[in-house]
Amino acid sequence: MINIKSINWVDIVSIFMLITGMILTFLSPSMIIFYIICLLSGTLFGRLLYKTKNTLQFKYYLIASAYLLGLLVGNFIKSYGLYIWPIIIFIFGIIISYKMTLKQ
């Protein structure tokens, strides 16, 4: 039996983000919009990573990875194309947002 108290909040948020990523991919009407969503989500995570740069960041990497995995699973089911593109666009979004926040 699972002890609920032993479950870390990071696990719960990661699962939630995984499902969110999948749902967003299912709801996206076309491939271009799916890639735009990847880019926009990347910018959000870039800002999150910048804001938490002075703390232990592994949990945020885990959450971002779970979200990306959700997007990739959705991509697999909807057959939008190569898996490498969502990953590249997502990371590009993170870098752009991080650099822009750093500039501000």
């Binding site: 967003l24 996206s28 969503i37 926009l40 989500s41 910018t43 800002r47």
Partner: protein
Amino acid sequence: MRNTWVNYNDKIKRYFPFQKAEMRNIIATIIVIGFMYGFRYPGEPFNLIEWSYNLIVSITITAIVTLVFVTGQRLVGIYNNYRVEYQMWWPGLILALIVTFISRGYLWLPIAGGLLIHFHKGHRLGYFRYGLNMLSTGMTATAGPLACIMFATIIKQIGNLVSTTGIPIVDKIYWFSLVFALVNMLPIPPLAGSKLLFNSRLPYVFIFSFMLAYTALAYFKFYSWIIGLIIAFILWLMFYIKFEYSHDKGQGL
């Protein structure tokens, strides 16, 4: 002396102009919200020129309503001897953009952003509560949505005077202003509604109920502030009896 028109006019001249970064943020907000509003193409088949025209109209409407919103907050802020600084909430805007994309433009959330309030030490000398007053801070934030509601009413009245059948652009501005005001009154930080709710619950309930009632009545083509205010008062009273009064007696919340 401190509340005379001359004094207020002088403060407006000195503190009303936008800073460069603020202006940049307002323009970015207008473009993003305008894009969300004009994203959905109304007709079939798709025509790029018509879509672009629709987008420009949407951005113009957004610009007018956003400026009314920010101006309302600034004017009330200056009256209370605060300096109001507009702050863009771009994570919220990105989330709203994602929602717009996945709903194909059917769902759009015109999130204006937050505000930062500084108080003028010199101008507030002699005030009973010298520092940042909670209620006046909340009311300064709420002035934006209220200004939108007033603007919507005025524009609708002018439209009704000009044409009895209604002008499409006036209706668009009217409904956009109402939705803009309602969304920004939601208690989500850093939106204007959260500033009032976390500072003072009862005025929030009254103002939000009024906005909701007025918009619901307008949906049924019944444009009345008085009925809206009566409904808001009833809802406020119910909230007071159900939560605040029973809370004082140790029963509620």
